[in-house]
């Protein structure tokens, strides 16, 4: 199964819509410095450097080379990862594998995106599939809207349930100094009254375009115990790819598709002796593409039976003080620098395990946490973190 690997350093920038004050490299450097400080390590202690983003936003060729000075990658090995929405988690996988192989003792892993560099809609619709998608792609928005409708029709969920999820996310974000959108929403009514953007999705139900970076430092067991008293162990990581377009774009109308989310967690749970996810795992930071999707993801990740995700929300089970907290950091709907987002999920889950999440630390004691990532064509990366192995 490989050698043991722990997260020993966590750093992220304060995510904003526009970082006019820094270049792309400097922004990444902020997260790197924060992670090094957290680990009390020097750049010389890092053996390999991995970067990840979704390149069509910044349109920069070889971003990893361009930021070698700010990531202290000069003369070091490493990789650039570009797997779209899951890039930030695939880069966690790379660092994890390098150290688990026993060939490296430490690795620095960075997810980043400076979305103020480009136009998100243009980047997604223009560069997804030039020959085929031209003229018919509506970006992610149309698909989320249809998914929401299907969910309501299939499960009996109401707009109020989605609004509750939105409110939960904002509560968490307001207690997370790094989050981007911290709106101070007071009621479900506020969400419902915000007006429709793409029916039935409301204005407040869209994630922002954020600029930010998140860095993690991994170490082998031997090194980790010397670096920190609170290593967070990467118990396991599963990636499942799905063919683009096959998956019926979020909310499969064929009824025949297998969802990569189900397959990924089935493998993860089986390999790690998890039989009752909400009992065996203490909390989750999931990649929810929309607040509506969060409810259906509860079902895909087996937190609840099929078609009952909205019931978990109604009972408040996934609130910070609830039985099984989900996304106390505010989630993707509060902060979404696309390349960094999956890394942030792992970072936030790790902070919970360490007990270092400050004001957004959940009530329940967290000895095991799960972080997930989702990519455009319905890929999933699921990571399991533990306080002790």
């Amino acid at each position: 199964m490989g050698n043991r690997v722990a997260i020993v350093g966590i750093g992220q920038t304060f995510h904003k819509s526009n970082r006019k004050d820094v270049t792309l490299q400097e922004m990444v450097g902020e997260a790197v410095r924060a992670a090094l400080l957290d680990a009390q390590m020097k750049t010389q202690d890092v053996e390999a450097v991995f970067t990840a983003n979704m390149e069509t936003f910044e349109n920069i060729f070889l971003p990893d080379a361009m930021m070698a000075d700010e990531t202290a990658a000069f003369m070091k090995p490493g990789l650039k990862v570009a797997t779209g929405g899951t890039a930030g988690a695939s880069v966690v996988e790379e660092g994890f594998h390098f150290v688990a192989s026993g060939l490296f003792d430490t690795a620095l892993v960075i997810g980043f995106e400076k979305q103020d560099c480009g136009d998100t809609t243009a980047a997604i619709t223009g560069a997804v599939t030039p020959v085929w998608g031209k003229g018919v792609a509506t970006g992610a928005i149309g698909e989320f809207a249809k998914q929401a409708l299907t969910y309501m029709q299939k499960t009996g969920a109401k707009e109020e349930h989605a609004a509750m999820v939105r409110l939960k996310a904002d509560k968490g974000a307001c207690r997370n100094p790094y989050a981007h959108l911290r709106l101070g929403l007071k009621s479900i009514k506020e969400v419902l009254d915000s007006g429709y953007l793409v029916w039935p999705l409301k204005f407040l139900e869209f994630c922002p375009q954020s600029s930010g970076a998140c860095a993690l430092i991994f170490a082998s067991e031997q090194k980790a115990r010397k670096i920190t008293r609170k290593p967070v162990w990467i118990a396991d990581l599963v990636t499942v790819h799905q063919e683009p377009f096959r998956a019926g774009s979020f909310g499969d109308p064929t009824g025949k598709e297998e969802y990569s989310q189900d397959i990924a967690v089935d493998r993860l749970y089986k390999r790690n002796g998890i039989t009752n996810p909400i009992r065996d795992i203490c909390m989750a930071e999931i990649y929810e593409p929309s607040n509506w999707e969060e409810m259906s993801h509860y079902e895909h990740y087996h937190f609840c039976p099929r078609n009952e995700g909205w019931k978990m929300v109604e009972k408040g089970m996934t609130e910070m003080e609830g039985e099984f907290p989900v996304n106390p950091s505010g989630g993707v709907i509060a902060t979404n620098p696309i390349g960094a987002t999956p890394t942030i999920r792992v970072a936030e889950a790790a902070l919970q395990v360490r007990g270092d999440a400050g004001e957004h630390q959940v009530t329940r004691d967290v000895h095991t946490a799960m972080a997930t990532a989702l990519g455009g064509p319905n890929w999933t990366v699921a990571t399991l973190l533990r306080r002790s192995l």
Partner: protein
């Protein structure tokens, strides 16, 4: 008399680069066939996997699920179908495909094509939200001129009484 301390914010420079990049994409044999059928015959086609017997959408050389060569078992699909799900823009969105401001005003829908056809994502002609609730059966309206854009050769799907 108070002296105001002028808090001068440092000037920050931005460089704007807005240059279209030209590309040439080969559609390949399979996608190319779709383009050709749409252009010449106003027909939608797909190839069938020899193993799982499912229609491959979008047509490709390999069936991804079975990991076998898909082959050339081409099927002409019906361009009539049933709406499975739809959505519409309430607030105009900037859409880079259609120019400056408004995105395509027609609602997007997932349509199940007849005769065991595939699920197609395309536009509906009907724009009234009230009438949209009752749209079930639709048929493609092809462009008479200026075809050659694959699925873009269909303008939208029109409601039919059936």
């Amino acid at each position: 008399m108070t002296t105001e301390k002028a808090e001068k914010k440092p000037e920050l420079i931005k460089v704007d680069i807005a240059r279209p990049r030209t590309y040439k994409w080969s559609s390949g044999k399979y996608l190319g066939r779709v383009y050709k059928e749409a252009l010449e015959n106003k027909k939608l086609v797909a190839n069938r996997c020899p193993k799982c017997k499912e229609l491959i959408w979008q047509p490709a050389a390999v069936c991804g699920r079975c990991n076998v060569e898909a082959g050339e078992d081409w099927v002409v699909m019906s361009d009539k179908g049933t709406v499975v799900q739809y959505t519409y823009l309430v607030f105009p969105l900037w859409d880079p495909h259609y120019g400056d401001r408004l995105a395509n005003p027609y609602p997007t829908a997932t349509i199940k094509l007849d005769d065991d056809g595939v699920f197609l994502v395309h536009f509906l002609e009907e724009r009234d939200p009230e009438k949209l609730k009752n749209v079930k059966r639709v048929q493609a309206v092809w462009k008479e001129e200026g075809r050659g854009r694959g699925l873009g050769d269909i303008l939208y799907f029109r409601t039919i009484d059936e």
